[in-house]
């Protein structure tokens, strides 16, 4: 498992990076954490003629908290975000999900931007970005633009990023005050790709659900935001029956693929089970916060 020959480039600034991407376009791949790309290259499934190593662009590693949004530089290591006090404070859903991303060794190198740009259909972070209506910032030959999560994920491993664009920042809205959250997933072993995963946020008002945000992973080519389930929950008083109804609505919203590990039926079923349990746990947290 040795990669095919490639040219190696090591830009020091974002501008240098985008210049290289503009030059090589389709024949280049960005190397950040490398936890997905390097195995693909070693197995010769990916043979980029040019590897653009952005690990020296220090300006891309940061976590900024302006009170309402967490702005995370693309090169921020997953482990750093997992342990950052701002993440724990503003978006504990992200922290909880990060703990389940691979293993600590992988998270020491893997980056937040890399996970989003790679868009694995079973990734945790992409589902959370979609659930929270987050955004990414990308810089390319035509300048800088902001892409909303709902416009970002196109298909398996495919985003709407242009090959000449460099993803520079991922931003997650902070959870509302007093909100409850929960991330639950089923994986065959610790650290495996989720067979199905659900992230849930419940904003509360007056003992009822003000609004709900749900994001699912592992149930299709891109993360799923089950609008009907969210609608069902909005403004309602919490109850086991309500969670059950939301679970059914989630099941109706997903069309997972089956594979050798789990059938489509199983994933659909489990997506509902996890939703039910996550809603229950999220509401528990609402009560604890109160």
């Amino acid at each position: 498992m040795k990669p095919a020959p490639f040219e190696y480039h090591c830009p020091r600034t974002v501008d240098e990076g985008t210049a290289l991407l503009a030059k090589y376009g389709d024949d280049a791949k960005v190397l950040a954490g490398g936890q997905s790309l390097v195995p693909l290259m070693n197995m010769r499934l990916a043979r980029p003629a040019n590897l653009i190593d952005i690990n020296r662009i220090e300006s891309l590693a940061y976590i900024r908290d302006d009170g309402r949004t967490l702005r995370i530089g693309a090169l921020t290591r997953q482990r750093a975000a997992e342990r950052a006090p701002q993440v724990a404070e503003r978006c504990p859903l992200l922290r909880d999900a990060l703990r389940l991303v691979g293993h600590a060794q992988i998270r020491n190198r893997g980056t937040i931007g890399g996970s989003i740009a790679h868009a694995d259909p079973a990734a945790e972070l992409t589902a959370i970005l979609v659930a929270l209506d987050g955004e990414v910032t990308a810089r390319g030959p035509k300048g800088t633009r902001v892409i909303a999560a709902r416009d970002l994920f196109v298909s398996y491993l495919t985003t709407s990023l242009d090959p000449r664009e460099l993803l520079t920042e991922v931003s997650f809205p902070a959870l509302p005050a007093g909100a409850g959250w929960s991330w639950m997933e089923i994986a065959r072993r610790h650290g495996d790709f989720a067979l199905a995963g659900v992230g849930v946020v419940l904003a509360a008002r007056g003992g009822k659900i003000a609004h709900a945000r749900i994001g699912l992973t592992g149930v299709g080519p891109t993360p799923v935001r089950p609008a009907e389930a969210e609608r069902l929950l909005a403004g309602r008083a919490p109850s086991e029956d309500l969670w059950k109804g939301a679970a059914e609505a989630v099941r109706a919203a997903v069309t997972p693929d089956g594979d050798i590990h789990a059938s489509a039926e199983y994933r659909t079923h489990v997506a509902g089970v996890l939703t039910q349990r996550a809603l229950r746990e999220a509401w528990e947290r609402v009560r604890e916060a109160a």
Binding site: P5, R188, Y266
Partner: protein, 777 residues
């Protein structure tokens, strides 16, 4: 002989170097002008090779050679048949490189040698091969059926062997039996997954006329002998070294894998040393696999649950070739009766070729299958007869006063299956006690009331170990007083460098740290068969003991001369040699060794030979039988099918334990592999024979995070079959795990009336079984 060290729980001699990264594995071998090889492998499960053209590959930068079958000359024929058997009608082996057809994805088609592995892999892309795909025989039952595509056309069939073993009269037993239960039990393909994949380095020195090979193999001596024969060299001109080996588990015993021929050939032709290191993806297609069997089994009992007869008819997937013969299905069939009295038994198997990676033994080598079948049948009987599952076992166990107990079968070593020793009821009792069997129902009810589904499983087994033909050992005391021993078995993590040192230490009055053990180097010791079948401690260990004992006697003779005493008055202790009762006049052991090798003058006749050295062999007439009982508590979430392992108890009896730390390590590893095979590890092939699980992303090995702490109880019934009283323990851990887990999962899901008749399970499969059971309710 003192027993200060034999049986002691001491840390291992091999660990400081291994843990500090100072081990020497085959990829650590660096030689001047080393070239690197890569293998072009078939992407088709079955195809004719129409044309191979290596011109573009040969012209590529850094490429030194591109070999196809046409270049192999005398080495192009089928590789040796390891273990022939009269029932094995079509004993097909592969060629070092495929010539007219490929029969499994991964079969070697060409060898590229280049200045680097990178360049070699670049050149693989430049080899032009035209294949004409042929229909593939993939599913075991489909391959066995008439009209299936033929894996070997000239055989006219995919059935390579049919074999039956019988005890008593099973027809009559079943005809007259008050109760009969049958089941279909399916076990799926798995692979051993050693931490270190395979690898070969070869160097040919034309001036010294020496072919040196480093090979991550479990059996270097047969490799040496085989290569010498194939290359037309004297055995003394070939040296095979198995350096540190990162796990073997069975698949590294072969003679030969294609690379074991190709790499030395390339080294000879190029006049440069050549290295080939198998990467993990290759390992998943090019290293032997195992575990696929389908049993249609029946048990006949009386109303009290006493076994009257057992019958199994099974299919065994041999893969595309069967170099290793019928060992796995024979072991499965002879292990099945287990610790129970089975007066009538019929075991019939059909070995079938399929267009998948060839099969050879993997830890357990068929024993897990025999145990799974027997234990599932007993559990079925227990449930339908309303008898407690531990009780039904108790009622059928062979009792401690019935040894030697003749099962009536012939084992893999062609000797009768005769249990020599054991206390089966005691092991079952201890396991039941350790797991809390007596209180279980009450505990389970408490969990159920809280909406949790926990289950307990218990499974018994007997394991044939320590088979011949022989092993040997040479023990030498050097003038430094340090002891050096060499034996023919290889070491892949079994702790031989410690356990054997402990035995020697007790005989010679030194410490285990003073004893250096050399294994796996044909230049150090050239007689032996290898490490497999849980035999090294028994067979090599006994040879070590016999040789050390002989050196002790020689030491006494030499010391008697030096100290002017009688040999029977001489003692060895604490590195010294002295007359009993006169410790003040002691000689250091090394001084005796030096004196035993005089430079001048006559050597006393009673010494017979110089030095403190002896070589001894042990050739057991048959194997010795270990046994054990596993018990576990699991929890299942019926909504998701997810399994949690709460407790895992192992009670085992391997006779005398040489080092409990090492035996426990062996057991832990075996149980981990068994649990992998119960809930995670499954090799999947699609309908065209394409392997779909060729990375650890899809072939799931349980990690420490997924497994509980193991609780081990040692029982000891020494065997009379060797002076140490030792029985094998290498494979024990893996053998009953599937059976125990199946019973535990069934117990957990009793309210749903789920039956487990397959391995491995998975969350999705458990959920499906619950859903199916609910539907049919």
């Amino acid at each position: 002989m003192s027993t200060r060290y034999t049986g002691a729980r001491i840390t291992r001699n091999e660990d400081p170097a291994l843990l500090c990264g100072r081990g020497l594995f085959v990829d650590d071998i660096h030689l001047p002008r080393l070239a690197h090889a890569a293998v072009l492998r078939s992407p088709h499960a079955h195809a004719r090779i129409v044309r191979i053209d290596t011109r573009r590959a040969r012209a590529a930068g850094g490429v030194l050679a591109a070999l196809t079958h046409a270049d192999l000359g005398a080495l192009g024929g089928p590789l040796p048949r390891l273990i022939p058997h009269p029932a094995l009608v079509h004993h097909k082996t592969q060629q070092a490189l495929a010539s007219t057809a490929v029969r499994y994805v991964g079969e070697a088609v060409a060898l590229i040698v280049a200045e680097s592995r990178y360049a070699a892999e670049d050149a693989l892309d430049l080899v032009d091969v035209e294949y004409a795909p042929l229909p593939a025989a993939v599913r075991l039952e489909d391959a066995a059926a008439p009209g299936a595509p033929l894996v070997h056309e000239d055989a006219g069939t995919n059935v390579c062997a049919r074999y039956t073993q019988r005890v008593g009269d099973v027809e009559r037993a079943f005809a007259g039996a008050p109760r009969r239960f049958r089941d279909r039990l399916v076990m799926d393909r798995g692979t051993a997954s050693p931490l270190e994949a395979r690898g070969v380095v070869a160097a040919w020195d034309p001036r010294a006329r020496l072919l040196e090979i480093w090979d991550s193999t479990q059996a270097p001596i047969p490799i040496r002998n085989g290569l010498a024969a194939m290359f037309g060299l004297p055995q003394t001109s070939v040296r095979v070294v198995a350096p540190d080996v990162g796990g073997g588990f069975g698949p590294k015993v072969m003679m030969f894998y294609p690379e074991e021929i190709l790499v030395p050939l390339a080294a000879q032709r190029l006049g440069r040393p050549v290295k080939w290191i198998e990467d993990r993806r290759e390992h998943f297609v090019a290293t032997n696999q195992e575990r696929e069997q389908i049993h249609d089994a029946e048990i006949a009992l009386d109303e009290t649950g006493r076994i009257l007869g057992v019958r199994t008819v099974f299919l065994y997937d041999a893969g595309a070739y069967c170099p290793y013969g019928l060992i796995v299905p024979i072991v499965a069939g002879t292990t099945l009766p287990g610790p129970y009295r089975v007066p009538n038994y019929h075991c019939e198997f059909t070995a079938v070729f399929t267009n998948k990676t060839p099969v050879s033994p993997y830890r357990g080598a068929g024993r897990p299958h025999g145990v799974f079948v027997m234990e599932r049948l007993l559990d079925r009987a227990a449930r339908d007869l309303g008898i407690d599952r531990a009780e039904i076992r108790r009622r059928n166990l062979i009792q401690p006063d019935e040894f030697p107990y003749d099962v009536g079968l012939i084992y893999q070593d062609n000797a009768p299956v005769q249990y020599d020793s054991g206390d089966y009821p005691r092991c079952l009792g201890r396991a039941a006690e350790m797991i809390g069997y007596a209180d279980w129902r009450a505990q389970q009810d408490t969990y159920r009331a809280a909406g949790r589904y926990l289950g307990l499983g218990v499974a018994c087994y007997v394991e044939g170990t320590g088979i011949g033909p022989y092993e040997g050992c040479r023990v030498t005391v050097e003038p430094s007083g340090k002891v050096f021993i060499a034996t023919g078995v290889g070491t892949q993590g079994q702790g031989h460098l410690t356990a054997f040192a402990q035995i020697v230490a007790d005989h010679l009055g030194v410490t285990p740290r003073d004893v250096t053990v050399r294994t796996g180097d044909t230049a150090a010791f050239g007689w032996g068969t290898g490490t497999f079948a849980s035999r090294a401690a028994v067979v090599a260990g006994t040879a070590v003991s016999l040789a050390a004992e002989a050196v002790r006697e020689k030491t006494r003779i030499v010391a008697a001369t030096l100290l002017e005493a009688r040999p029977d008055e001489i003692e060895l202790a604490d590195g010294k040699v002295f007359v009993r009762g006169v410790p003040a006049r002691a000689l250091p052991l090394g001084e005796v060794a030096a004196a035993a090798n005089p430079l001048r003058f006559a050597m006393p006749r009673e010494w017979e030979s110089p030095g403190l050295e002896a070589t001894r062999y042990f050739a057991p007439p048959r194997g010795t039988f270990s046994n054990g009982v596993h018990a576990c508590i699991v929890e299942i979430d019926p909504e998701t099918g997810m399994l949690s392992l709460h407790r895992y108890v192992i009670v085992h009896d391997c006779g005398r334990v040489l080092n409990p730390l090492i035996v426990e390590g062996q057991i832990h590893g075996g149980v981990a592999q068994g649990l992998g095979g119960a809930f995670w590890e499954k090799l999947v092939y699609d309908a065209e024979g394409q392997p779909l699980t060729t990375t650890f992303m899809d072939y799931l090995l349980p990690t420490a995070a997924d497994l509980p702490c193991f609780e081990v109880g040692h029982e000891t019934t020494p065997t009379p079959l060797n002076p140490l009283g030792v029985k094998g323990a290498g494979e024990a851990g893996v053998i009953p795990v599937g059976a125990a887990i199946a019973q535990a999962v069934e117990d957990a899901l009793r309210p749903f009336r789920v039956r487990i008749t397959e391995m491995p399970l998975s969350p999705a499969r458990v959920w499906e079984l619950v859903a199916e059971a609910r539907r049919s309710a």
